[in-house]
């Protein structure tokens, strides 16, 4: 798969809640809002995984959502990246000992970039996207 130049400058993200507390969600939307304005880098929230390049996954993956998360991941076209936003998707966070979780996220999806924080600040999310771009560049160089 050859990555085109335009791909790096127009990362479209799809946001997937797997049982998060909403904190990460509002920070993701706050990131999209004018104060941080990542659209100047081509980053945009889209409404369908089929339009997306990056999957922003939040939350510790509840049992009801696990299969749906896998399905949505499958529906994202290649090349794709998965960003795990928030601590509870990485280690469970405060939800470390629940009976209804299938997480953390990397048990369900292959994660490329982890953005820790509960919730991470918008700056951190933008930094994570930059890291995702770096990873894409490395992928490109490896070909």
């Amino acid at each position: 798969m050859k990555l085109t130049k335009s791909f790096n400058r127009s990362l479209w993200v799809f946001h997937l809640n797997t049982g998060s507390c909403n904190g990460c969600e509002i920070e993701i939307v706050a990131t999209i809002a004018p104060r941080y304005d990542p659209e100047r880098f081509g980053m945009r929230l889209v409404g369908s995984p089929k339009h997306a390049d990056v999957l922003l996954v939040t939350g510790p993956v509840t049992k009801k959502m696990a299969q749906k998360v896998r399905r949505v991941y499958e529906q994202v076209p290649d090349p794709k990246l998965v960003m795990c936003i928030g601590t509870c998707g990485q280690s469970g966070g405060v939800f470390y000992d629940s009976y209804n979780l299938d997480g953390p996220i990397d048990q369900v999806l292959p994660v490329d970039v982890y953005v820790p924080g509960c919730p991470p600040r918008p700056e951190a999310i933008i930094f994570g996207v930059v890291k995702a771009l770096e990873k894409l560049e490395r992928l490109e160089a490896a070909q």
Partner: protein, 212 residues
């Protein structure tokens, strides 16, 4: 709707006592004041006979239409206590009281009549109690599961403290899991067609590409 007169918490308890007599097993008032002036907010706690639940709620509706908040529940060992938490006289300045009607169900007979014919909004709460306490609400218009997944094991009720509660093996200690070991290290080779189950078979992608 004609406004019924406002009453003090003690008057409400007296009304209940005259109406239901010995059916009222316990009644008390708690008060709490906060801030500088310590204006008091009142809670009324009434424990009554199981069969008097619906008449008691009807009685409260006669006093003034209550706001139904939620049904809470306690596992007391042999019995399950259900607390119907309502509030009455909302809209009056500092005159609203929480009214908690508690009934106890023997674990041998965990049935309770539905109150959705009086207050339809109680449906979600009743459905929730069915799946979390294993009680049976008779006459419930919609008895499906609410929060738990469909493949949740039968006969396990998360809020019970006896052997039907959550089993230790059901608990997943997320923090001990760590990163999956069945995935290759970055940088990744060329992509293969994605398998059906990425988690089960491992995939071409790797975790933590940028985290290194």
């Amino acid at each position: 709707m004609s406004e019924t007169p406002h009453r003090t918490p003690q008057e409400i308890i007296d009304l209940y006592r005259t109406e239901f007599g010995a059916g009222i097993l316990d009644a008390r008032i708690t008060e709490r004041g906060e801030g500088v002036r310590k204006t008091k907010g009142c809670n009324i706690w009434i424990r009554l006979d199981k069969n008097l639940l619906k008449p008691a709620i009807k009685k409260l509706m006669d006093i003034r239409f209550p706001h139904f908040a939620v049904i809470a529940g306690n596992d007391l060992g042999d019995e399950i206590e259900l607390l119907y938490i309502l509030s009455v006289f909302y809209g009056t300045k500092f005159g609203e009281y929480m009214v908690t009607l508690a009934i106890r169900l023997k674990k041998t007979d965990l049935t309770v009549p539905t109150i959705t014919d009086l207050i339809p909004g109680a449906l979600l709460s009743e459905r929730e109690k069915q799946e979390f306490f294993g009680i049976t609400v008779t006459g419930i218009p919609d008895g499906r599961r609410l929060f738990l997944p469909d493949d949740f094991p039968q006969g396990v009720y998360p809020w019970r403290k006896d052997e039907t509660g959550i089993k230790p093996e059901m608990v997943r200690e997320l923090w001990t899991i760590g990163r999956p070991k069945d995935r290759p290290v970055p940088p990744v080779p060329e992509k293969k067609p994605a398998p059906e189950e990425p988690a089960a078979q491992g995939t071409q992608k790797t975790p933590g590409g940028a985290a290194e």
